[in-house]
Symmetry: C2
């Protein structure tokens, strides 16, 4: 049983070889951007969760490595294409692929990454092979649906809190959930265990995304690492904003809408005013309650896993780490 | 044993239901463009070849329908993304998806189509399931590689005839080859038969693409359906142009290069002058010889198929139809 750091390091070491192999494939301008995207890092949360779920039921973690590559490849593919769609210039402090190369390169290399994730999945040995393919494909499709809902919401006047939760479920939570389930299925765990891990991951993913929304408005700038209020400036329909619009009386609702339609010239003024409305409506507490609700659901799934407590302890630690909890 | 027309009609009938089901999936702006792309038609050559290969070894052609959908979906996905990359406005006389909707919609709906093709493949029942996945994924990746080589060639000063043949092999021939092989594998045909069908399809695909190049310069406008010389105007490095550059003496080579770099203001003048050089160098005959060479190779594979002659006759007819041969 490895801990998070050990699995992360094992994954990185193996991934480096894959990146080098990818980088030497031809044509250069198809595969170099793939290697570039993979090597710019990130926390590798999904593949590490996959490996950890595998290790709950089998010790030969190398067998789960191809599936872990598949998940990481697919995740990075979605980021690459999302960056074109959002016209983002930077990803993890590096120029995005469509900026560094070109739009066409970013489209085609992304397409290749989506297929390369299936190439990795193809080399997974497990009697649950078909089920693994099925859950991977269903998840991949849900992520596309989530991205489309996210884009739709930008132009949609009324978005409900429930619609938003469904969207982040598709865009973020299902891949975390599927990573854990695929890890378990690769180790030939029972269907029940695999489903519990899926639900654990889904709820954890929801809490994780809500935490992201929360920190953007109420985070500590120095530890959060980016400026507070980015979502407010960008008029993003986050959980906070949608909850505020749901609870606001007509007067406050009008104020929020006017800040979005005719923002004050001063950036900080808009942030301060919106935050003050959030405060009046107790949005911080409500968001953190919702986060906690998902976290507790995740915990319940974790408790029901049919694995010795000391064996599954690392999974709880990683969940707490994702939520930045110390308990 | 159905003939081409019957299989085409069976496929269309089944595809219509799939299109209707796709069109009712949510979110609308993810799935509507998928349905739009599929219903604009085309000749359905690949899925019909797949069904025909299946029927050589098993009569229950319905079992091959999901794989036929997968191939058609993937083919249309590549066209959709290629159209963004080529900035094409029309496809089969309809506005392309990125024109009718938007670039972002075209990127994301294309991504979904690539995954939807795996969804169809997932529902294929065959003991050769893993091999089918493997050949499908390898083929998908080769098509991306072919598209990248094609884009590279636009900016590459020297392209050899061999490089060009390799590129069209990846971009066009492998999908025709894989369609046939997957049809055979779905019907549990032997590896040897499946490989013969692959080679048959590959060589047929090569001949088919060379015929396309040939017709663009030497076709009959009324039966070809589009204006002669489009490739010449667009400076496309086709087999004809590359063969001409290979054979040309310094003087003719300079002329060809100058037509590409500083084309005459009059469109027809450029076409006439390039065609006259093609004539001097016997490019039409050389192209049609190469086409015939591939066709004969395909024929040899067909002859070696371990299937009764009257059973495999339809496959030869479809090959002849693709080459517009009457024999």
């Amino acid at each position: 049983m490895h801990n998070y750091k050990e699995l992360q390091s094992l994954f990185e070491t193996n991934l480096e070889k894959e990146i080098a192999a990818t980088n030497s494939r031809q044509p250069k301008y198809l595969y170099e951007p793939v290697a570039y995207t993979l090597q710019t890092g990130g926390k590798r949360i999904r593949p590490v969760l996959l490996l950890m779920a595998y290790e709950l039921y089998d010790s030969k973690f190398e067998k789960a490595m191809p599936a872990a590559f598949a998940i990481e490849m697919f995740h990075n593919f979605t980021l690459l294409h999302d960056d074109i769609m959002d016209d983002a210039n930077l990803r993890r402090n590096n120029p995005t692929v469509h900026v560094k190369y070109s739009n066409n390169t970013a489209i085609l290399s992304g397409d290749a990454m989506s297929i390369l994730s299936y190439e990795y999945l193809n080399s997974t040995e497990s009697k649950n092979y078909r089920e693994i393919f099925d859950i991977f494909t269903k998840t991949a499709l849900k992520i596309c649906e989530g991205q489309q809902f996210d884009m739709d919401f930008e132009n949609q006047k009324e978005v409900t809190v429930d619609e938003y939760l469904k969207m982040i479920g598709m865009k973020t939570a299902v891949l975390i959930a599927a990573s854990l389930k695929i890890g378990a299925l690769t180790a030939n765990a029972s269907r029940q265990e695999a489903d519990l891990l899926y639900d654990f991951g889904y709820n954890l993913g929801m809490a994780f995304q809500l935490r992201d929304d929360y920190l953007d408005s109420f985070g500590n700038t120095s530890s959060f690492g980016k400026k507070i209020g980015g979502d407010i400036i960008a008029n993003k329909k986050t959980y906070l904003m949608l909850k505020a619009l749901e609870l606001a009386n007509n007067n406050l609702k009008e104020q929020l809408n006017s800040f979005m339609e005719n923002p004050p010239a001063n950036r900080d003024e808009k942030i301060t005013k919106v935050l003050s409305i959030y405060e009046q409506l107790d949005v911080a507490r409500l968001t953190s309650d919702k986060m906690e609700e998902y976290y507790q659901k995740a915990l319940l799934c974790w408790e029901n896993l049919n694995v010795l407590n000391n064996q599954k302890q690392e999974l709880l630690l990683i969940a707490n780490k994702m939520m930045n909890r110390t308990n």
